[in-house]
């Protein structure tokens, strides 16, 4: 008799939990409604912030009888609302549902958009955060015999902690890259022979640069998959292609929101990310009017967590722009697809002559220009009539500086042809722009604030 972690029946499944991953929309929505009703009652009873919010809106938990009621009647909340509720009596104030006895982990947001928000995670929540990754790992063919290298410092960024919980849930091996330099991490990958690399997409590309300097042939290493979170990139075709070519691996991305969960693992067909509908519900709306957008149209993801038990987040403004597709995906999942992942941020929206320009669209187009790299910055400033955009992009190491002017004209021409908006391009020497281990700062807004 052989010893195994999973039965042969489970090992042959291409889904982690086929029953819910392929469930018809009507059934999924019926379950969402029940979970939302329970979560609203839970939040109303246990969290002063929600009780006050709903009382002010004249809303009682029993008023939510349909998903349409939920989408229409329940007020959305923003990060600043939760931060203010926490500030009533730090660290958790009026935003907390569980006492300290239950909050086993304490993280915080990066503070890239203001005051950091504290993120309490209960023991049970941590299992669900991890499970969302496991859906993604299993879906792309990662199994318990795979092993994971975490090129991550194990700080207060919850994203890769939750990935670790997901690996534990899967039952695979973990190698920690915490506390090591990039060079040491690359040497450990050669020594330990992990099959999965977990890090931000930016850092995967930085590791590839270092590997070239060290004479390491990454495609010849044991890495078969790279799995990313923390910032868009794994779903930006040019960036994904650059990572896949550099590592000789398949590249996937999970879309997570630290305070809400690792909500959407990557589609195995690389079409975007699928909302883990066991654990979250999404209402996608026009960020200016709040009205739901039609399927296939870009809107803001208002997310409701079914699994944030410590600090419930209900109809929470993510400020992430997504394109929702509800049709059954070619990968077999019925779970909502955010096509091409997160397309941008509502607070990074650039509108020029009535045209929405998404930073990830600029990234995609620049990535298709031969001679440019995925290291770029987008700077937006106020012009006389419209916002003005300049993209700073590093040239590839093999491009001569004498060719930069030609490269600039070529890139500007491609951007104008596709977006129909003039975007200035400044070619930078290789290594001129900063490198990041976690979220890269790509977007610089110099516009006057009104």
């Amino acid at each position: 008799m052989s010893l195994t972690v999973y039965s042969s029946k489970s090992m042959s499944s291409i889904f982690w939990n086929e029953f819910t991953e392929t469930m018809p929309r009507e059934q999924l929505d019926a379950i969402h409604l029940k979970r939302i009703q329970k979560m609203i009652r839970y939040a109303y009873d246990r969290v002063p912030f929600y009780r006050k919010l709903y009382q002010k809106a004249g809303l009682k938990p029993g008023d939510i009888r349909t998903l349409d009621d939920f989408n229409r009647l329940v007020p959305s909340i923003d990060k600043k609302d939760i931060v203010e509720a926490q500030q009533v009596e730090p660290p958790w104030g009026e935003a907390i549902a569980l006492s300290e006895d239950f909050n086993l982990f304490r993280f915080q947001t990066s503070g890239s958009t203001g005051v950091p928000m504290g993120i309490p995670v209960s023991y049970y929540s941590s299992h669900h955060y991890g499970e969302q990754w496991t859906y993604g790992f299993w879906g792309v063919g990662i199994r318990p015999r795979d092993s994971f290298y975490f090129a991550f410092a194990w700080g207060t960024f919850i994203g890769f902690w939750s990935a670790y919980w997901g690996v534990r849930r899967l039952g695979a091996t973990v190698y920690s890259g915490g506390g090591f330099t990039t060079e040491m991490r690359l040497k450990q990958i050669l020594e330990y022979e992990p099959t999965v690399l977990v890090c931000t997409p930016t850092y995967a590309l930085y590791m590839a640069e270092k590997a070239r300097e060290m004479g390491i042939d990454l495609p010849a290493t044991s890495i078969k998959y790279t799995y990313h979170a923390g910032e868009p990139g794994g779903n930006v075709p040019a960036t994904r292609r650059a990572i896949e070519e550099a590592w000789g691996a398949k590249t996937y991305e999970l879309y997570g929101i630290g305070e809400v969960g690792a909500i959407a693992p990557g589609c195995p067909r690389q079409l975007g990310v699928h909302l883990a509908e066991d654990q979250a519900y999404a209402t996608v709306v026009n960020p200016e009017t709040g009205a739901p957008v039609a399927p296939g149209e870009v809107g803001e993801n208002l997310v409701t967590s079914h699994i944030q038990f410590s600090q419930p987040l209900i109809k929470y403004r993510s400020h992430d722009l997504v394109r929702p597709v509800y049709d059954k995906c070619s990968c077999g999942r019925t779970w909502l697809l955010f096509k091409d992942g997160v397309l941008g941020r509502t607070d990074h929206m650039i509108i020029i002559k009535g045209t929405n320009v998404y930073p990830t669209a600029i990234e995609t187009l620049l990535g298709d220009v031969s001679g440019l790299t995925a290291n770029y910055e987008i700077h937006v400033s106020s012009g006389q009539l419209n916002d003005e955009i300049t993209a700073k992009v590093e040239a590839a190491p093999d491009v001569s500086a004498s060719d930069y002017a030609t490269l600039q004209r070529k890139a500007e021409g491609i951007l104008y042809d596709k977006i129909l908006v003039r975007i200035g391009v400044e070619i930078q020497k290789p290594g001129a722009l900063p490198r990041y281990e976690l979220k890269a700062k790509r977007f610089f807004d110099h516009r006057e604030k009104h």
């Binding site: 819910t20 979970r35 569980l98 239950f102 209960s122 023991y123 299992h127 038990f309």
Partner: protein, 61 residues
């Protein structure tokens, strides 16, 4: 076994564990049984069942 039958068996097990933990043998055994209950709550979710929001909360008898 059907999905519904599996769910019912799990619910029965949860009731059994709840009874066992009314008078725990030790902190170690109580915690282990608690975790077993937590995973069963998770499994019910995978089966499409909607139970209490979190199994972490229980009143002391």
């Amino acid at each position: 076994m059907t999905r519904g039958e599996i769910a019912e068996r799990i619910r029965a097990l949860r009731r059994e564990i709840g009874a066992l933990n009314q008078d725990p043998f030790s902190p170690a055994v109580e915690r282990s049984l608690f975790l077993a209950d937590m995973y069963m709550h998770m499994a019910l979710g995978h089966l499409g069942e909607v139970e209490e929001v979190t199994p972490e909360l229980k009143e002391e008898s």
